[in-house]
């Protein structure tokens, strides 16, 4: 879709492909000047925060999983963290280790999907992972095997890969059997080798020189690389308790856009996700992931969104190592879940979804009935930064023809793996009408 507009160029797509959910891109250029850049969201809203009101405290893990079929575990983990915070429940370290194992499975399957089926086709100039298989079938077969091994963790620990059934506030409905732990150990021994090969494969792609300028924000995890935790930090000195999220993050309207964008108070746009986690905590990577990152030419920080594919591969390997660590030194929790006694109050929770920090807040009455909910997914937080990156990328590449510019601009969006299904229950939106 290319139109001439007011003597300038209008380069856009009506429907972004290889992202989760429905969105479009709008770029308006007048001569040498970029007039407008928008990531339009037309995914219809589903009103989760509305219909969660009046539900019981036990329901959000099952219900909020349905916000996203790609990262349901993230919704379940952030919901549990927030509800346990409200009720003063400590799930205990053995449960937290099992949660890390489950989450590792989701990181492996989600990252492997994005790397090979959503992102890598851009580096090969093809439309899909299936077309990629015609060029490099072993790489796609390796990806399918690795993705399956990640999914199998979620199936064993969670019951099924999409919308797992075994997660509840306080822990799990039932603990994994010895056999499930042993099988996972075999799987992860294989998965680490596959993931190592993926890092090497993606590190050989050609990456444009481009650096994002945004503040990088992630959960601070006392156990190492960011997954679970109750503080939020940035590379520019932000260091807040999760309970203060609402005081530091505001959503505002941006000119020429109908979508609400998240900003840090007095600090501006920010980015969550792999680049943020890696730049804040690369020193905490597991040994083989750290070595693979070095061999792939990543420094201690990475601000090039095109290289996020390498960071995702490194994080996939890290997740395999973490999963292996949990199953090799498996500590059986004393019970499948902690005792949960509801009380009136407000709870906040954050965890690291594959796409970045995912925040939940719940308010309860004395019976544990939900009176208010706020959910801020990673893509909502990243949207302003993605548009900003897009704007600068277009400015720097005005000499490209429309088709090439559109293709490259789409890639700058896919660099961030936006999950529009997640974001839209929250964002304002309008239908694009040209």
């Amino acid at each position: 879709m290319t139109h001439k507009a007011r003597g300038g160029r209008l380069v856009g797509t009506e429907a972004l492909a290889r992202v989760e959910g429905e969105g479009a891109m709008y770029v308006e250029i007048d001569g040498d000047e970029v007039r407008d850049v928008r990531l339009d969201i037309y995914e219809p809203p589903r009103f989760y925060e509305g219909f969660l009101r009046g539900r019981a405290w036990s329901e959000p893990p099952d219900i909020t999983a349905r916000i996203c079929g790609i990262c349901p575990v993230a919704y379940q983990m952030s919901a549990c963290a927030a509800i346990e915070d409200a009720f003063g429940v400590d799930a205990g370290d053995p449960i937290r280790r099992l949660r890390r194992l489950l989450y590792a499975g989701e990181w492996i399957e989600s990252h492997t999907l994005h790397i090979h089926f959503l992102h890598a086709p851009d580096f090969f100039g093809v439309d899909s992972g299936i077309e990629l298989a015609a060029i490099d079938r072993p790489a796609v077969e390796r990806a399918l095997e690795l993705k399956k091994l990640g999914n199998r963790i979620v199936e064993r620990i969670g019951g099924r890969a999409i919308h797992p059934v075994n997660i509840r506030v306080g822990g799990f409905h039932r603990l994994p059997t010895r056999r499930e732990i042993a099988e996972t150990r075999e799987d992860m021994a294989r998965a680490t080798d596959l993931a190592e090969a993926v890092v090497d494969w993606v590190s050989r792609f050609d990456f444009p020189d481009f650096e994002t300028t945004h503040e990088l924000v992630a959960v601070q995890d006392p156990a190492g690389y960011p997954v679970l935790g109750d503080r939020i930090v940035s590379d520019r000195g932000l260091d807040i308790a999760v309970g203060d999220f609402d005081d530091h993050v505001v959503e505002t309207h941006v000119p020429h856009s109908t979508a609400l964008h998240a900003h840090l108070v007095e600090r501006g746009e920010y980015l969550v996700g792999p680049l943020a986690r890696y730049s804040l905590a690369s020193a905490a990577l597991a040994p083989r992931a750290a070595a693979a990152a070095r061999a792939a030419g990543l420094g201690t920080r990475c601000r090039n969104p095109f290289r996020s594919i390498v960071v995702r591969a490194v994080e996939t390997l890290h997740a395999c190592e973490i999963a292996l660590d949990v199953v090799e030194d498996y500590i059986e929790p004393p019970a499948a879940h902690a005792v949960v006694e509801p009380r009136a109050g407000v709870g906040h929770g954050v965890t690291e979804a594959p796409r970045g920090l995912l925040y939940h807040r719940y308010a309860f009455d004395a019976e544990g009935t939900i009176t208010d909910v706020s959910i801020v997914p990673p893509t909502s937080q990243n949207q302003a930064a993605i548009e900003h990156d897009l704007w600068h990328f277009v400015e720097d590449n005005l000499d490209l023809g429309d088709d090439e510019l559109r293709r490259s601009a789409e890639v700058t969006i896919r660099n961030h793996d936006p999950c529009i299904s997640c974001a839209t229950h929250f964002l304002d939106l309008t239908v694009v009408r040209s």
Binding site: A15, A17, R18, V19, E20, G21, E22, Y42, P44, P45, R46, F47, Y48, E49, G50, F51, R53, G54, R55, A56, D62, I63, R66, C68, G69, I70, P72, E109, L113, L118, P121, D127, S128, G129, I130, E131, A133, R137, V140, E141, L144, E145, K147, K148, N151, G159, R160, A161, I162, H163, V165, R168, H173, R174, E251, L260, S421, H425, D428, T430
Partner: protein, 261 residues
């Protein structure tokens, strides 16, 4: 021989049912060899070429005026149309708006509801166009998905059991959680397909596959009351991913917000 042209479409949903196709790691390349996946926006940037489709798989429910026109066009261009999952088949969790006032929900979630161009309801695809087969589940089961694709392309009826989760539980050898531990369970009225997953994890079925063909909820609600649930809690059990499905709808209507319904 030209390969059958298959398209995957998305309406209001979480993407999980179409992801089920990409999660068939052992079958995906074989499926891609057997059919021409001509339109599958989550997985491919190949644009709609304007041609017709031998099979359209449709995820999600109809929630905007644009959706109404789009599903009609998809139907016109598709020899066979199969809905995948609870959203497309029963409206999904977003169909909870059907019980109340969508404007109130909009004002809770959005600062400027006037910007929203949405319908007051979230409805299944079959409310709008003829559907050749409805595959249940939130999410669907991957083996069943491969079966419906194969059956559709072979021109036969898919072999999908229509009995209840209770039957699957017996086949799996699970003790009955409702009888053994008075755990509330929707297994007796829920459509099979998951393999009786939840009872295998020490919890009751929560109805992701929607009502079974012969579901009668009346007797079950009596049993659920005997487990200690009050009427509001029973209503909430039914008021989730298949709340708008006939069979569940009548019980779900008493869930929170029911006073305005």
């Amino acid at each position: 021989m030209t390969r059958p042209r298959v398209a995957v479409w998305k309406f209001a949903s979480c993407d999980g049912c179409q992801l089920t196709l990409l999660d068939r790691e052992d079958d995906l390349l074989a499926v891609a060899d057997a059919v021409d996946l001509v339109y599958f926006l989550e997985a491919s940037s190949a644009p709609d070429d304007g041609g017709d489709f031998d099979l359209s798989l449709v995820e999600g429910s109809v929630t905007t005026p644009a959706d109404v026109a789009r599903i009609a066009e998809i139907r016109r261009r598709s020899r066979s149309l199969i809905t995948i999952g609870a959203c497309a088949t029963a409206g999904g969790i977003q169909a909870l708006r059907n019980f109340g006032d969508v404007r109130e929900l909009m004002s809770i979630v959005y600062a400027t509801p006037a910007f929203l161009d949405v319908l007051a309801t979230a409805t299944p695809i079959s409310d709008h166009v003829a559907v050749d087969f409805e595959l249940r589940g939130c999410p669907i089961d991957g083996t069943q998905l491969v079966e419906v694709i194969s059956a559709s392309l072979a021109g036969r009826r898919p072999v999908i059991a229509s009995h209840s989760v209770c039957v699957e539980c017996k086949l799996a050898g699970n003790p009955c959680v409702l009888v053994a531990s008075a755990t509330p369970c929707l297994g007796p009225v829920t459509h099979a397909g998951c393999g009786a997953l939840c009872p295998g994890y020490n919890r009751g079925c929560y109805g992701c596959f929607g009502p079974s063909d012969s579901a009668t909820t009346g007797p079950l609600t009596e049993v659920l009351r005997a487990t200690g649930l009050d009427d509001a809690a029973i209503a909430r059990l039914f008021a989730t991913f298949n709340a708008w499905a006939p069979g569940f709808r009548e019980v779900a209507v008493a869930a929170p917000g029911g006073e305005q319904r």
